[in-house]
Point group: C2
Chain length 377, copies 2
């Protein structure tokens, strides 16, 4: 096959079997998507002589990592095995001992990682620990799929900011309410149900007192409203409620609101809150970058799901703090005298418009759900 000798691409160090096993580990990792926050979703498959001898995924923060489940399942069979892990094994003592150490002690001979740890402070340490102990390590198999498991964890580790999904609902002509404020309902019950899945995945839900008061919104996850395919993998008994963060600079929330019913924690950022002074609140509203950094550092939030009106939406967009936009577009025309999707941007040149990139388009009941990212990556 001399005609291919000039090809400069280096051969991958992984076989088709390696790909299969890593794909399996990624599938396992996804099972933790509703429960691991603020930890990442991680899966692990242990293979010896082309047989799976152990596998597992991280279920919930504070519980064992994926590698621990796989090693426990494999027992003595881990000796000489290959471990497929969707993320570099950790090298530090946290709530659990380092997984790199566990793999070494179990006698694992080879470790294939989909990606390095995104935390620049620790990236490569787990790999180095394994290599020093004589374990063969390779990194990068199905990396983009592995990165897609944990956009929020990666963003936080690399920037100190949460990964922000901004949800909006509008008519085809971009209106979120009529001039008199009427907005129930622009979108369908199916679209409102679809929102439950996103809430369930988030570390926190961000909203404003205005939105809470307008709809008497509870902003919680209602297990019975989750799609059936989510319920099937996510028992009601394990339901995790995301933290509900409400910006309430004018202290307008009252105890009789639905928000204060039922389970789940609330963080009401009003002048009564001891940290209020640190959030840079002025007549212009909260300093949103500071507030988001605060949610990361003080409340361990990676993934922030925002449900609010045009003011907060455009504030986040103008500050470049939004990673993904989820717009439910109803098959309706409401007229331009209603309320717009985002506030005024004061643009004078088309080149200054905020550019988006479609990521996913689908029909949810009678509505369309348009997912767009803010960056080109």
């Amino acid at each position: 096959m001399t005609e291919f000798q000039g090809n400069s691409r280096q051969a991958e160090p992984w076989s088709a079997f390696d790909h299969q096993m890593m794909a399996r580990a990624i599938g396992l990792a996804k099972r933790g998507q509703f429960t691991t926050a603020p930890n990442p979703n991680v899966g692990c498959v242990l293979v010896k002589e082309r047989c799976i001898v152990g596998e597992g995924y991280h279920h919930r923060a504070g519980e064992p990592h994926a590698e621990v489940h796989a090693l426990r399942m494999a027992g003595d069979k881990a000796r000489g095995a290959t471990a497929y892990v969707t993320l570099e094994p950790c090298s530090h003592y946290g709530r659990t001992p380092p997984c790199a150490k566990g793999l070494i002690e179990a006698g694992v001979a080879r470790v294939v990682c989909a990606m390095q740890d995104p935390n620049p402070q620790v990236a490569g340490r787990g790999i180095a620990m394994l290599r020093e102990a004589g374990v063969e390590v390779s990194v990068g198999l199905l990396e983009s799929d592995a990165r897609a498991l944990n956009p929020a964890f990666i963003k936080r580790m690399q920037t100190g900011l949460p990964w922000v999904q901004l949800k909006m609902a509008a008519s085809l002509d971009g209106q979120t309410a009529l001039a008199n404020g009427a907005s129930q309902w622009i979108t369908s019950p199916q679209a409102r149900q679809d929102v439950q899945r996103y809430r369930a995945q988030a570390g926190a839900i961000l909203s404003t007192s205005q939105t809470v008061l307008a709809d008497n919104a509870s902003l919680n996850v209602r297990w019975h409203d989750l799609p059936l395919n989510v319920q099937a993998h996510y028992p009601q008994t394990q339901l995790r409620q995301p933290l509900r963060v409400i910006l309430d600079a004018k202290q307008r929330l009252t105890a009789d609101l639905k928000l204060f019913d039922g389970e789940g924690e609330r963080l009401i950022l009003s002048p009564e809150h001891p940290d209020f002074a640190t959030l840079g609140c002025s007549t212009q509203g909260f300093d949103l970058a500071v507030t988001l950094e605060y949610l990361v550092s003080q409340h361990n939030i990676n993934h922030l799901w925002v449900e609010a009106g045009a003011t907060l939406a455009s504030g986040l967009l103008k500050a470049g703090l939004v990673d993904e936009l989820i717009v439910y577009l109803a098959p309706k025309l409401m007229g331009s005298d209603g309320r717009g999707l985002i506030g005024a941007l004061g643009l004078t040149q088309m080149s200054k418009a905020i550019d988006l990139h479609w990521r996913d388009i689908r029909q949810i009941g009678p509505d369309l759900r348009l997912t767009a990212s803010l960056s080109a990556s």
Copy 2:
């Protein structure tokens, strides 16, 4: 198979072979989609002893009907044949002799029509003429596909109004221009090219002097900009330019505009036009229902493609004159201080919003093209 005897559905009078032949006739009919206006698209297949002996489609108004092409091709073999026709054969003397008569004289034994003539004045006459001559006739095979060939012809025949497609382009937040009027370009070159196909299918393009002046728009069909799959079936030498109808109540158009360059007819509805007084023009603008009826009765327009701004768009929508909306949605946010997709509707209740029904969603270059119909049918 006694268990099926209770089934009350009447068996269709058509075989699988009949379906195949009618599908072929529909495929042939489509070939006329850029050239037959104001006539309908019609295809015909003649079959004898399960062999196709003749087929054809209507190419262009004034030229032979589909049945004539098929009969000419079949010659003597038409005797005893079955004719599959997408539309009831005509019974009247127009620019060509009646097709029903032609089929009878050629000795065709059986005629299968996809649908009756939509003109209530003549519907059934061709069928009756055939039956009186002893030809076996059945009607309704693949009717909905056949109706989809000619939505504009059917609408005109049944209502006296044209079938109106309203084209718009906006950012995701429903803006068609910035506050200062800047709008070049919201959508991509691919979206603007896609528009060429629709223009090429239309009998007329409706716009306003404001739109023509803002963009110095020529509003014609540029063969080189048509998609390649259209060019392949539509030779440049046969290019048909739709009539360009411009509402110009204040006589603002000047002879130096691109609109007046090149081929294609123009109908400038300004006070200088002899029929202007009949169009009910007031300070509120044209009486749009009257104007559309005028385009049907005086200019033979079935299919009207509208490219204009928010004023004409909302005027047509409020008057219930729009059949289909084609919205190119750009992956951009422009801010609610720009210009809205349609004008104010003055709604005070959500139930009064204009309801749409998605018909087709697809990506055109970086943009989305959303097609929605105004009626539930």
